[in-house]
């Protein structure tokens, strides 16, 4: 597969009042053609800085970036016509209508005006196209932002939190639209905090924390790599839990005892559990392999899981070295 987006060793340090703040610290990323790629990270992890740097809005301190095979920012003017993007919250001139907004962008990009109606139709704003943007809800502005990105009919679509402000129907429409665009050959890079959505629609993901990549690859592989092979076991008789725990420990399985079930770790073959217990007349009523979802992996890798009684600060994410996860 061809990479449409490649980033290597990207660094960016901001001058801040409290001293320099490193937003990107040797960040790497690859997005292959035709995929829907999820770009995840906690607040302040460097997602938006990465996107802005890619689009030439921010000058990196160092690092190499390629878009559609061209080195950027040098060749950005040559490729920008094939890259549709929305970065952070949608930002438009509030006194222009959606129609005017897109029409002016179409002029700036030397695109046919017929695309404006097409894009507005696609995002469901056709009937409100002549109203001023300042009267729009956040979700409608978000739709307009997506329309502006689609206007170029790009090869690469970069969407930063596109579902922000959308109603449930809108989120589903957005998901279906991205699937359709991807099926049509468009590569979509999607930054979002709605991890369930990412898991549903993305082929691959990159997770960033404190400016560094902490995980990347196909969603299934990332989940597999961070799966603990845990199994939840319930018995017909709760009073047998202690005996069962002893039997399984004896068989080399790591066991955590809970009031109504056992939690087994590193179990390659759940059927073994059933067999070992049955041999001791301990009968299983439930044997459930517990698979990690993207939210679990995200919280684990970024160290951002909420801790009762603690107010986590935005910079309290985890660096790759700290959690030992190989990127």
């Amino acid at each position: 597969m061809t990479a449409v987006l490649e980033i290597q060793g990207l660094r960016k340090t901001y001058r801040a009042r409290g001293g320099p703040r490193r937003a990107l610290d040797g960040f790497e990323m690859y997005v292959e053609a035709g995929q829907v790629h999820g770009f995840l990270g906690p607040n302040g992890s460097g997602k938006t800085t990465t996107l802005r740097t890619l689009l030439g809005l921010i000058r990196p301190d160092s690092g190499d970036m390629r878009l559609l095979g061209h080195s950027v920012p040098k060749a950005l003017p040559q490729v920008i016509g094939q890259v549709g993007a929305i970065v952070e919250s949608p930002q438009f001139f509030p006194h222009f209508s959606a129609n005017d907004t897109l029409s002016l962008l179409a002029d700036a990009g030397n695109l046919p005006q017929a695309r404006v109606d097409w894009a507005l139709e696609l995002v469901g704003l056709r009937d409100r196209a002549k109203e001023r943007v300042k009267t729009y809800s956040l979700g409608m502005k978000q739709r307009l932002a997506v329309a502006s990105a689609l206007l170029k009919q790009p090869k690469l679509l970069i969407l930063d939190e596109p579902a922000n402000g959308l109603d449930p129907g809108g989120i589903r429409e957005m998901r279906d639209m991205m699937a359709a665009l991807s099926a049509g050959g468009m590569t979509v890079m999607l930054s979002s905090h709605i991890l369930g959505e990412i898991q549903l629609i993305c082929d691959s993901v990159t997770i960033i924390s404190l400016g560094r990549r902490v995980a990347y690859g196909p969603v299934s592989e990332v989940l597999q790599a961070h799966s603990t092979n845990q199994v939840r076991v319930r018995l017909e008789d709760v009073t047998d839990l202690a005996s069962a725990a002893a039997v399984l420990s004896g068989a080399g399985v790591s066991v955590q005892t809970h009031p109504d079930h056992l939690l087994l770790s590193n179990v390659d073959k759940p059927a073994l559990v059933s067999r070992v217990l049955a041999e001791r007349q301990l009968y299983v009523s439930e044997l459930t392999p517990l698979s990690a979802d993207l939210e679990d992996v995200f919280l684990e890798l970024t160290g951002t899981a909420p801790v009762p009684g603690q107010a986590r600060q935005v910079d309290n994410s985890v660096k790759p070295e700290q959690n030992g996860v190989a990127a």
């Binding site: 802005r52 689009l55 809005l57 003017p77 930002q91 438009f92 002016l104 962008l105 700036a108 502006s148």
Partner: protein, 332 residues
């Protein structure tokens, strides 16, 4: 060219720009209307009546003088009355002018240039706000960032916006100058006269109009550049306010206190007058006349060339800053 087309359309779509233009035209219309109604056409009968009134006034003044003169013949020397009588001059008919008894009339030749300054001042202020808003609002609303994701050549984007602004301001300047000249000509025809207009006079008026256009362009461009550097319309308006309050009122107070000779040379209004009138004489209120060799030089002349060079220098400096800044500074 596509960017030029987009920016040209963007300029026309801005509501603030439309309103500012409406306000400018309304102000000019109000002034023209006031000038129209405060002047009257003077015919031969009016002139004759005024001459008669002047004659009458002359006779009355002569009568007063004769009464005073008789008194003066009897006063003793060295008294205050005698002092007053040293100025005992007989009124002359030429001292009493018939124009004083005529209604105001609008002479095109005499009034065109002062009123052209009014046009230039109004449109220049409007141009400053238009220039500042044209780019400032784009920055503050984030529309500029969106545009840069379409046209990543930042210098080109800023340059195109500036060129489009300059083009529109030139158009606005030329059209409003044409309308203003037409209105003043019409007023002169209906409520005054157009006497004494020669090709040379028209040329001179044309050059005044060109200098007015230069002022409008400079103000619009400076507003644009300040808002571009500050990335907000408010920055340009704030700088303008600071220049007016601190730079002019404050500076006048300080320079007066320090008794700086020819302090008018450091004040913006004097330079604007010099620019529009081709020259402006600045006096030295603090000239030393106790000098045995006579007074120090009491006046200096500001020329339109000198003021123009300063205006150009400031504009170029701001342009360099704005373009350097958009090239180097992150868009966040």
């Amino acid at each position: 060219m596509s960017l030029v087309r987009a920016e040209r359309r963007r300029f026309l779509k801005r509501r603030l720009i439309k309103w500012l233009l409406v306000i400018a035209v309304a102000l000019l219309a109000i002034i023209a209307t006031a000038v129209f109604f405060s002047n009257q056409k003077v015919d031969a009968a009016t002139i004759a009546a005024a001459e008669a009134q002047a004659d009458q006034e002359y006779q009355q003044q002569v009568m007063y003088w004769e009464q005073r003169h008789q008194v003066c013949g009897t006063v003793k020397e060295g008294t205050p009355e005698a002092e007053m009588c040293t100025y005992d001059l007989k009124p002359q008919r030429s001292d009493i002018r018939a124009e004083w008894y005529m209604p105001a009339t609008f002479g095109f030749k005499a009034n065109f240039e002062p009123l052209t300054m009014v046009w230039a001042a109004i449109i220049a202020v409007i141009a400053f706000v238009i220039g500042a808003s044209f780019v400032g609002a784009e920055w503050s609303t984030g529309a500029m960032m969106s545009l840069l994701t379409w046209q990543p050549r930042r210098m080109r984007v800023l340059g195109t916006k500036l060129a489009v602004l300059a083009g529109w301001l030139t158009g606005i300047g030329v059209v409003t100058f044409g309308l203003w000249t037409g209105a003043l000509w019409l007023i002169a025809r209906l409520r005054g006269d157009t006497d004494g207009m020669t090709a040379g006079t028209w040329q001179s008026f044309g050059l005044t109009g060109l200098r007015g256009l230069g002022l409008i362009l400079a103000m619009g461009i400076v507003g644009f550049l300040l808002a571009s550097i500050g990335r907000h319309t408010g920055v340009a308006l704030g700088v303008a306010l600071a220049v007016v309050i601190v730079g002019q009122v404050g500076l006048t107070i300080v320079l007066t206190m320090l008794q700086v000779p020819y302090f008018g040379m450091y004040l913006l209004p004097m330079h604007l007058l010099a620019w529009m009138q081709k020259s402006f004489v600045v006096g030295n209120e603090f000239a030393n006349c106790a000098n045995p060799n006579g007074c120090e030089e009491v006046v200096k002349t500001l020329t339109w060339q000198g003021t123009g060079s300063i205006m150009l220098g400031v504009t170029v400096l701001l342009a360099v800053l704005a373009f350097w800044q958009i090239r180097r500074r992150d868009v966040a």
